[in-house]
C-alpha cells in the first residue's frame, strides 16, 4: 500500500498551481467586492485544458478520474481564490457527467466541446424553493408537446446562472403521485438558458460574491426533444452517479481554502511581535493552528480515499459523505482560527482571511447538510433506523 500522490497526480498539482499562482490577492479581493465573475481565471484554466480534466479524451478532455479532479480543486481553492475560484470551475467537473454517460454522440459534440473550451458555461438547475434536499418533491414540470416540452417552475440556488449559456435542468415529466417510485418521473434536459423565458434573480449572500447564486423563474420555456438527456423519467437516476464526486470535490475545496487560511495565519503569527516576541511563540496561538493542520491533513486523505474508491468503481457513499463532513468542518475551523489569530487585522479585508472565513461556511451547507450526512451514516453504515 502506498498512500501518496503518483507522478501524474503531482504533475496535475504543479500544473494547476502554476496557473492559480498568476492570480493574486488583489484580483480575488476585487472579484469579491465587485461581485464580479472571475472571467480571466476561468479563461486561463479553460485555455490550459483543465476544464476537461474528467471529460473523455475523444471529446478533447483528459479522461482522468475524480482523484485527479479532487487534487486539481484542492490547488484551485488554496491559491487565494477560495470557494470563488473553485465555484467558477466546479460545475464543469461533475455537472456534465450525465451527458458523458447517457448523452448521444451528437449531444456530446454539441454540448461538451464548448464547455471544455470555456466558450460556454452551464448552470445546474436542480434545487427548488419547496424541495431542497428532498429532490423528488420538485415541482418544476415539463409538459410533453409536439417536438418537445413546455416547462414551468422555479429553481433555487442555481450557481453561475448570471453567466451561463446553458441550463442543466431537472424537471418532473410525470407527477410524483402517479409514479410507482418517487425517484421516477423526472427528466434531465440540457438547453439554452433563454432569458426571455427564464428570469434569473441574483441572491445576495454572505460570501463568494464573485460567483453568483440565483433564483430562477421559468415561464413556459420550450425545450426541444433533442435537448433531453437519455430517456424520459430517468433524469434523477442519471444524477445519482455524480453526487459522490460532487461531495468529494466540495470536501477538497474546503481543505484547500483551510490550508490557505492556515498558511496566512501562521505567517502572521510568526511576524507579529507583541510583548517582545512573535505571537506564534505563545502556545495559545500556536496549538490551535497546529490542531487545524492535523484536521486538514486527515480530511485531505479521507477525501482522496473516497475519490480512489469511486475511481475503482467501488461504492463510496459513506466515505464521500464522511469526507465532505470532516473536510468542511476542518476548512471552516481553520478559517475561523485564522481570523482569530490575526485579531483585528483578521477582521480587516486587507488580510484576506475574513473573505476566506465567510466562504468557508459554504461547504458546510452544500451540497448536502451535515445533518443529512450523519443520518446517512447512521442508517447505512451503523444500521440504525431511518430518522427522517
Amino acid at each position: 500500500m502506498e498512500i501518496a500522490l503518483n507522478e501524474d497526480q503531482r504533475a496535475v498539482q504543479d500544473g494547476v498551481a502554476k496557473i492559480v499562482g498568476r492570480f493574486d490577492d488583489e484580483y480575488w479581493t476585487r472579484c469579491d467586492s465587485d461581485a464580479r465573475f472571475p472571467h480571466e481565471f476561468h479563461q486561463a484554466m479553460a485555455e490550459a485544458g483543465w476544464l476537461g480534466i474528467t471529460m473523455p479524451e475523444s471529446l478533447g478532455g483528459a479522461g482522468l478520474g475524480v482523484t485527479e479532479a479532487a487534487i486539481m480543486m484542492h490547488e484551485v481553492a488554496r491559491g487565494g481564490g477560495g470557494m470563488a475560484a473553485a465555484s467558477a470551475l466546479h460545475v464543469n467537473l461533475f455537472g456534465p457527467h450525465p451527458i458523458v454517460v447517457h448523452g448521444t454522440r451528437e449531444q456530446q459534440e454539441r454540448w461538451l466541446k464548448p464547455l471544455i473550451d470555456g466558450r460556454e458555461k452551464v448552470a445546474f438547475g436542480v434545487t427548488e424553493p419547496n424541495a431542497g434536499l428532498d429532490t423528488t418533491s420538485i415541482e418544476t414540470f415539463a409538459k410533453k408537446t409536439a417536438g418537445g416540452y413546455h416547462v414551468r417552475g422555479r429553481k433555487m440556488w442555481t450557481t453561475t446562472a448570471q453567466e451561463a449559456d446553458r441550463l442543466l435542468l431537472l424537471a418532473r415529466t410525470t407527477p410524483k403521485t402517479e409514479c410507482a417510485r418517487k425517484a421516477d418521473g423526472m427528466t434531465l434536459f440540457y438547453t439554452p438558458l433563454d432569458r426571455s423565458r427564464i428570469e434569473v434573480r441574483r441572491i445576495e449572500k454572505m460570501g463568494r460574491a464573485a460567483v453568483d447564486s440565483n433564483a430562477l423563474f421559468i415561464d413556459d420555456l420550450f425545450i426541444p426533444d433533442e435537448d433531453r438527456i437519455g430517456e424520459e423519467g430517468k433524469g434523477f437516476r442519471y444524477l445519482f452517479d455524480s453526487l459522490n464526486p460532487e461531495r468529494i470535490l466540495f470536501g477538497m475545496e474546503a481543505v484547500g481554502l483551510g490550508r490557505d487560511a492556515l498558511r496566512r495565519a501562521s505567517a502572521y503569527a510568526k511576524e507579529r511581535v507583541v510583548f517582545g516576541h512573535p505571537i506564534g511563540q505563545n502556545q495559545a496561538i500556536q496549538h490551535p493552528l497546529a490542531e487545524k493542520w492535523a484536521y486538514l491533513e486527515s480530511a485531505y486523505w479521507m477525501c482522496l480515499r473516497a475519490a480512489w474508491l469511486y475511481d475503482q468503481g467501488q461504492p463510496c457513499g459513506a466515505e464521500a459523505n464522511a469526507a465532505k463532513l470532516i473536510a468542511a468542518r476542518a476548512g471552516y475551523d481553520a478559517a475561523l482560527q485564522a481570523v482569530m489569530t490575526l485579531g483585528g487585522m483578521g477582521y480587516a479585508k486587507e488580510y484576506q482571511v475574513e473573505r476566506l472565513f465567510r466562504e468557508s461556511v459554504l461547504p458546510r451547507i452544500i451540497p448536502v447538510t451535515e445533518q443529512l450526512i450523519l443520518s446517512y451514516i447512521g442508517e447505512n453504515v451503523l444500521d440504525l433506523p431511518k430518522s427522517y
Binding site: 507522478e7 504533475a11 496535475v12 500544473g15 496557473i19 485555455e47 485544458g49 483528459a62
Partner: protein
C-alpha cells in the same frame, strides 16, 4: 536542426532551504523539487524556435536521480520531443555535467545547445561555458535575446555595462538569462501527451564519462542572522551615521 536543452531538478524556489544538522549539505527529504527556473526559460526558448520552424527536434537531457524523470516530463509537457536521463544518485559537479552533455551532443548531432545560465541550488554558472570549451563551439552566455539566421545564432547578452550582441557560428552553446522569455505553463492535454513521449535512461558509464567528484564539501552552514536595524530621528542623523559610523559616504 536538433536543439539540446539541459534541465536540472532543484529544490523549488519557494522552499525555505534548511541546512542539515550535521552540516553536510541542505535538507532534501520532504522538500518540493521542480525544474531549475533558468532551464525552464531554456526549454521555452527551444519550443519557440520549433514553433517558428527554426528547429526540428528538441531533446531534453537531465543528470540526476530517477525522480529527475518528473523534471524531464515537465519539459516534455512544455513541448520538448524526447528526453534522456543520465541517472545517478551521486552529486555531479559542473565539469562532469558538461562532459556528459557533450557526449550526448555528439551522439545526437546537436546543432544548438541551450542551458540555464546557472542552477539555483549551487549557483555554479559553469556548465554552459565548460560545455562550449569541451565541444570547441562558440558560446553566448546570459542571453536576453536569441535569433537564428543562416548558419548563425545572434545572441544579445546581458553584461555589466548593458547589452552586448554576438554572432555565433552554429553549432553553438547559449545560456539563458531571466529576461529571455516568460516560460509557458503546460496545458493539461500536453501533460497527458508528455506521458507518451520517449524517455531514455542511460548511465555515465555507458557514455564512457568519468563523473568522480574533484571537490570535497567541508561544511555547509546557515548564513548569519541579520541584526536588527536602528531608527534615526531625521535625515541629518542618517547622513551623519552613514558618514561616520558606517563610513560608506
Amino acid at each position: 536542426m536538433k536543439v539540446l536543452v539541459a534541465v536540472k531538478r532543484v529544490v523549488d524556489y519557494n522552499v525555505k532551504v534548511r541546512v542539515k544538522a550535521d552540516g553536510s549539505g541542505v535538507e532534501t527529504t520532504n522538500v518540493k523539487f521542480s525544474m531549475n527556473p533558468f532551464d525552464e526559460i531554456a526549454v521555452e526558448e527551444a519550443v519557440r524556435l520549433k514553433e517558428a520552424g527554426k528547429a526540428q527536434e528538441i531533446v531534453v537531457v537531465s543528470i540526476g536521480p530517477a525522480q529527475a524523470q518528473e523534471t524531464l516530463r515537465a519539459a516534455l509537457a512544455m513541448g520538448a520531443d524526447r528526453a534522456i536521463l543520465i541517472q545517478t544518485d551521486e552529486a555531479v559537479e559542473p565539469l562532469a555535467v558538461a562532459k556528459l552533455i557533450a557526449a550526448i551532443a555528439k551522439r545526437e548531432e546537436i546543432g544548438l545547445a541551450i542551458l540555464g545560465k546557472q542552477a539555483i541550488d549551487d549557483d555554479s554558472n559553469q556548465t554552459g561555458q565548460m560545455l562550449a570549451a569541451l565541444l570547441g563551439w562558440p558560446q553566448g552566455t546570459f542571453a536576453s535575446k536569441l535569433a537564428l539566421e543562416e548558419g548563425r545564432a545572434v545572441v544579445t547578452r546581458e553584461i555589466d555595462g548593458g547589452l552586448e550582441t554576438v554572432s555565433l557560428a552554429l553549432p553553438a552553446v547559449v545560456t539563458t538569462d531571466l529576461r529571455l522569455n516568460t516560460p509557458r505553463y503546460a496545458s493539461l492535454p500536453n501533460i497527458m501527451k508528455a506521458k507518451k513521449k520517449p524517455l531514455e535512461t542511460t548511465f555515465a558509464v555507458d557514455l564512457d564519462v568519468d563523473i568522480a567528484p574533484r571537490l570535497v564539501t567541508l561544511k555547509v552552514e546557515e548564513p548569519p542572522k541579520r541584526k536588527a536595524g536602528v531608527k534615526v530621528a531625521d535625515a541629518a542623523t542618517l547622513v551623519d551615521k552613514l558618514k561616520n559610523e558606517a563610513k560608506v559616504i
